[in-house]
């Protein structure tokens, strides 16, 4: 059995080494995607473009605007005297917020009266609009308190009797990249292992080399293991590289024991590689195999909780996500890297992966034997 497995594995390695395209798919593409996606997939709200219409033009109104724009969140793109023109900027998409300071702003403050500052927000990006709105409200409250204190007025905005002081664990600055990079790593591992195995076996079918293998006494298990072993190792290498790059470029913390990630990755790939063989056993051509792989990748990614939290999904859908190996891998990566979770903490995820891996792999072996015999 070992002789046969090693013979197949050596053949796969030789073919891969000779084919720059496969090599690129296996190593270069995932890294480029990790870096690109890492930069692109970012839900942090910063540098929101603001157009300012200060109709008051007083020391107070200028101080208010300057203080607002001093932070990272907002960035002035224009200052227009006319509120209508400022609103037009938002409609045209050149600014996300139009901040309109009414005439009499300073006078009202000095008199100790309340004054309304209008903020027009572009709601087409709901996430950004909500964050901007909350930030503005909090800023206005803070600034008003500071103004009252500095001018010795009785504060109009008193502190509420109950105050929530949130403290965010694991990711105190709520840096979304730190959250997304592990998800990206799990996606890449899925794409690489599923597509490469499915296409590789389908190609052997197309070329007739599979038939030539099948007239040898090699067992379908040995054939599968030999085919999958090199790609599993390359997958683990990709995973290590992704974690390293995530830490080096995006500041993903490495709080837990990395061998748990390795174990999780190996169990995860048992499923993804098995699925690849499954797809290939049903497909007749490389094109069909590619379509089949693509058909699996999208729902697996969407259900994994990598992009949107599983708790936001409808109740009937949530239990189904347990059948998505990527969900467990994402949880393992986030758990180990961000929270320093232990083996015991992640036992359920690891067991799910092991169970699914063995099932899928065995089913693929049976399917392959049936298809080929």
């Amino acid at each position: 059995m070992t002789t046969e497995i090693l013979a197949v594995a050596l053949k796969e390695i030789r073919q891969t080494r000779r084919d720059p395209r496969t090599l690129a798919v296996l190593v270069v593409a995932p890294l480029m995607q990790l870096i690109l996606l890492g930069f692109a997939v970012n839900l942090d709200v910063t540098h929101v473009p603001v157009v300012l219409a200060d109709a008051d033009q007083t020391a107070e109104s200028r101080a208010f605007a300057e203080a607002l724009l001093a932070g990272e969140t907002f960035e002035a793109v224009a200052a227009l005297p006319d509120p209508e023109a400022a609103a037009a900027e938002v409609i045209a998409g050149r600014a996300a917020i139009a901040l309109i300071i009414p005439p009499g702003f300073a006078a009202a403050l000095r008199a100790g009266r309340a004054v309304d500052v209008q903020a027009l927000a572009d709601g087409s990006d709901a996430q950004r609009a909500v964050v901007a709105q909350n930030t503005l409200t909090a800023f206005a409250a803070r600034w008003s308190l500071a103004y009252s204190a500095a001018t010795g007025q009785a504060p109009r905005f008193t502190q509420a009797p109950v105050e929530i002081r949130p403290r965010v664990l694991y990711n105190p600055t709520l840096n979304s990249r730190v959250f997304f990079v592990p998800g990206v790593a799990a996606t890449l591992l899925l794409v690489v292992t599923l597509v490469v195995t499915a296409m590789g076996l389908a190609r052997e079918k197309e070329d007739g080399t599979l038939e030539q293998i099948l007239v040898t006494p090699i067992s379908s298990e040995a054939l599968m293991l030999g085919k999958v072993l090199p790609y599993g190792l390359i997958g683990l290498f990709d995973l290590a590289l992704a974690v390293t790059l995530g830490a080096a470029i995006f500041g993903v913390p490495l709080r837990g024991a990395l061998p748990i990630v390795g174990l999780g990755g190996a169990l995860y790939m048992l499923t993804t590689l098995g699925l690849g063989l499954f797809v290939a056993s049903a497909a007749r051509t490389q094109q069909q195999a590619f379509m089949g792989a693509f058909f699996l990748i999208l729902p697996m990614t969407l259900l994994s909780g990598f992009m949107s939290p599983i708790s936001n999904m409808p109740a009937w859908l949530q239990p189904l996500t347990l059948l998505d190996p990527m969900r467990h891998m994402v949880e393992i990566l986030r758990g180990v890297l961000l929270k320093g979770a232990s083996l015991a903490d992640l036992a359920p995820q690891l067991l799910w992966l092991a169970g699914m891996g063995l099932t899928v792999f065995t089913a693929a072996a049976v399917a392959l034997r049936k298809r080929l015999a």
């Binding site: 053949k11 030789r14 099948l214 007239v215 006494p217 015999a373």
Partner: protein
């Protein structure tokens, strides 16, 4: 163990409503070159695939090297070599890498594998090109590599499915020299072809027509049974004149000449007498004795030229 290398009884394979192989019976002797002839789609490849364990028969049974194809497909794969119709080694690997892989898949390891691979490279004359990509080899050499690969584990029965399809005539002759040498060493060779000249090399020939085995005999036996009589080629006589010849069984154009078949006892079956008979009618023709060919057998059996 059976005296036959291959025994087939009532072998049938259906694909839906289509019957690719229909109730076929035959035996192949140990060390024999057995030719399987037929047009494309006649059921040749399907028969081979069932015997190699690549397809399960719908009905009937068969043994290869004494092993039942339904009960012991793995066992059969240890003792057979198979060369498919299309070159099916890895184009992107070198001959040596291909051989190493298939030797490994056969379970050969260590020294045994090394020896088998070196011997195969020698046999295929690929020692100097063992590092080149198999895809870059000329057709004839690829064919020999495929044959060498099929023989790595010294199989007792070799199945060759159209081994010379698309190979130049010189390379074909060379290839057949090798096949005869293999058979001379005691290996049974089961070969399909649609080259009639190649069928002449076979000890016995089976003829498949639409999934049925229509005839099976030595080439000479087939000719005696299905194309009896004596053959003449005639140059310079019109077909209409020949039609009147007593004892004539058939006459067909043969290039610019005619090819006539006479009853064995007919006096005009003698070339000199036939020429004299034509001269009596004022026709100066050249008449020569000819041999029956497998083509005549095909025409007789199938009625049309199928190959």
């Amino acid at each position: 163990m059976s005296a036959y290398a291959v025994e087939v009884e009532g072998l049938t394979r259906r694909f839906g409503a289509f019957i690719a192989v229909n109730d076929v019976h035959f035996q192949v002797k140990q060390g024999e070159i057995f030719g399987y002839l037929g047009a494309n789609g006649a059921g040749k490849s399907t028969t081979i695939k069932m015997l190699c364990g690549l397809l399960t028969p719908s009905e009937g049974r068969a043994t290869v090297a004494g092993r039942d194809i339904a009960r012991d497909p793995r066992g059969i794969k240890r003792v057979i070599g198979y060369m498919s119709q299309k070159f099916s080694l890895y184009m992107d690997l070198s001959p040596r890498e291909n051989l190493e892989f298939f030797a490994g898949a056969q379970g050969l390891r260590g020294r045994a594998r090394k020896i088998a691979v070196e011997a195969a490279l020698n046999r295929a004359d690929l020692r100097d090109r063992s590092g080149q990509r198999a895809g870059d080899l000329p057709g004839g050499l690829r064919q020999r590599l495929a044959l060498a690969s099929a023989r790595l584990h010294a199989p007792s029965v070799l199945f060759l499915d159209e081994p010379t399809a698309g190979v130049a005539p010189d390379a074909r002759r060379e290839f057949w020299r090798e096949i005869r040498a293999v058979a001379a060493q005691g290996t049974t060779v089961f070969v399909t072809t649609h080259h009639l000249d190649e069928a002449e090399y076979c000890a016995r020939v089976g003829l498949m027509v639409d999934g049925r085995l229509k005839a099976l005999d030595t080439p000479a036996g087939l000719k005696a049974t299905h194309a009896p009589g004596r053959f003449l080629t005639i140059e310079g006589a019109p077909k209409a004149a020949m039609r009147a010849a007593p004892g004539l069984m058939a006459v067909e154009p043969f290039g610019l000449r005619l090819r006539a078949r006479f009853e064995a006892a007919a006096p005009l079956a003698d070339p000199a007498r036939c020429a004299a008979w034509l001269a009596d009618q004022g026709i100066a023709a050249r008449v020569e004795r000819a041999e029956a060919t497998l083509e005549d057998v095909f025409l007789a059996l199938v009625g049309v030229e199928v190959l």
